[in-house]
Amino acid sequence: MTKKVAAKKVAKKVSPKKLDSKQQTIESLIELIRITSTVVPNDVFKTIEAAAKNEVKNTTADYAMGIIKQNIDLAKYKSQPLCQDTGTVIFYIYHPPGFHQTPFKELIKKSVTLATKKGYLRQNSVNSLTGENAGTNLGEGHPSIHFYEHKSKEVEVKLVLKGGGCENVSAQYSLPDTGLSAGRDLDGVRKVIIDAIHKAQGKGCGPGALGVCIGGDRADSAYYAKKQLLRKLDDKNPHKDLAALEKDIVETCNKLGIGPMGFGGKTTLLSCKATHANRVPASFFVSISYMCWAFRRQGVVLNKNFAIKKWLY
């Protein structure tokens, strides 16, 4: 696994000493964007490698997984985007008490604009009313930025780039669902998730990875489902029922035979990560966030000078 080596090597080049903290923050954020766009995290790479080995040799599924692996190597080597659709840019920032969010937000925007100029992000943000593309990736609601206060004195920045193909096959269900005979229980939840995967076929650039939220209102449910994509693929859910559901979904969906790109094959899903949120008695939403194989997620811990201290994935 050379990814971390590459990331660390570049991170070392950044010298915190003579730069003021704003400039240093921008450099660190651009580096985070570069690595996120061009290198899949270790946990994802391992899962893809295992899936590739599992396909029957000389099938179209095997062929697709081979090209996927080649693409991962080449994107890292050339430091160019894994996929031309560099997606919705979503930041999650964890900071100590007293941290100033507004100036940090401005630095994020600057970094996104610069990273777009450097070609780590495609000019990918379009005004939904006018169709105008400013070419900067900035605009109403974009990039998406979420702040959280935590106890640590350090600032952590996580980034997800979510492409359009997989976002388009993501789904939200309302239980009960008569057509699927899905009731308001875990079995009903299971049914709608499997249905979403069947509907997606190969269109989300599978094999995919899921984030799921059971419950919440429509907005929070979708938000928490997507936030599950921050979990490492090889972690284990501490909640017994959710852990069992996650395992069941992956095993069951991989029996469907949809396979990489929908060509038919053994791996339809790489992983499923689920959480839950309280609901009102009248509502029961299940939200499914589908991530393509080009799973772009990375994170950094910044030191007190805002240089990159540690990579999180």
């Binding site: 179209t60 062929y63 697709a64 090209i67 996927i68 080649q70 693409n71 080449l74 994107a75 050339k78 160019q80 985007p81 894994l82 996929c83 031309q84 659709d85 070609g119 495609r122 593309n133 492409g163 193909g165 388009n168 699927l180 005979s181 049914k191 499997i194 249905d195 069947h198 076929q201 190969g202 269109k203 650039c205 069951t252 029996k255 469907l256 035979g257 949809i258 396979g259 790109m261 929908g262 060509f263 038919g264 393509c292 194989w293 080009a294």
Partner: protein, 188 residues
């Protein structure tokens, strides 16, 4: 592994069948939403598409200081958006291949059978591997649609694709959808 070399023809693509892994060498023209809509609205395409292949792709392109274009990322985009238009382009302008991702519907499948055309599935997300196969940029048309939406004339070498809809009425997408639906019934 099969090979398809330029110049292309309906006879050559009729030899291909669903499941074939093919390396394409020769010329491709990109064309996505804006181009298909433009042709559908009655405008004549600015290039002769007879016996050519259309690639559903909005590439990332860079111009060097000498004005020369290179393609730095070029994966396929979702094809189903062109379903209302593709059959007409096949019928009226004689294209013999469509490259994209996710597959297309019955209208396109019928047009493929009638006129001799196949749908090639490129690997979604593999923007770097596919850009590497592009050896030169030979033309740029309808630039006014914006660079990702324009028609790019590209020379490719051993561009890797899988036939998922052939000229004999077969569709891998239909087959996988149906077989997975049968399994779905047993696991629900």
């Amino acid at each position: 592994m099969k090979k398809l070399n330029y110049p292309f023809s309906p006879e050559a693509v009729r030899e291909l069948k669903v499941g074939d892994m093919v390396l394409i060498t020769g010329k491709l023209f990109t064309g996505r939403d804006a181009v298909h809509k433009y042709i559908h609205d009655g405008n004549k395409p600015p290039v002769d598409l007879k016996n050519q292949i259309i690639y559903h792709c909005g590439p990332v392109t860079m111009k060097d200081k000498n004005g020369k274009w290179t393609v730095t990322a070029a994966g396929p985009t979702t094809s189903i958006r062109e379903e209302p238009y593709q059959w007409e382009v096949i019928r009226d302008y004689g294209i013999v291949g469509v490259i994209g991702k996710g597959g297309m519907g019955q209208k396109t499948l019928d047009a493929c059978k009638e006129h001799g055309c196949v749908y090639f599935h490129a690997i979604g997300g593999a923007a770097q591997v596919l850009a590497e196969k592009i050896k030169s940029v030979d033309g740029l048309y309808l630039e006014e649609f914006g660079l990702p939406e324009a028609i790019w004339e590209l020379s490719v070498e051993e561009f890797p694709v899988v036939v998922t809809m052939d000229a004999h009425g077969n569709s891998l997408h239909k087959e996988v959808e149906a077989s997975s639906k049968e399994i779905l019934k047993t696991v629900m």
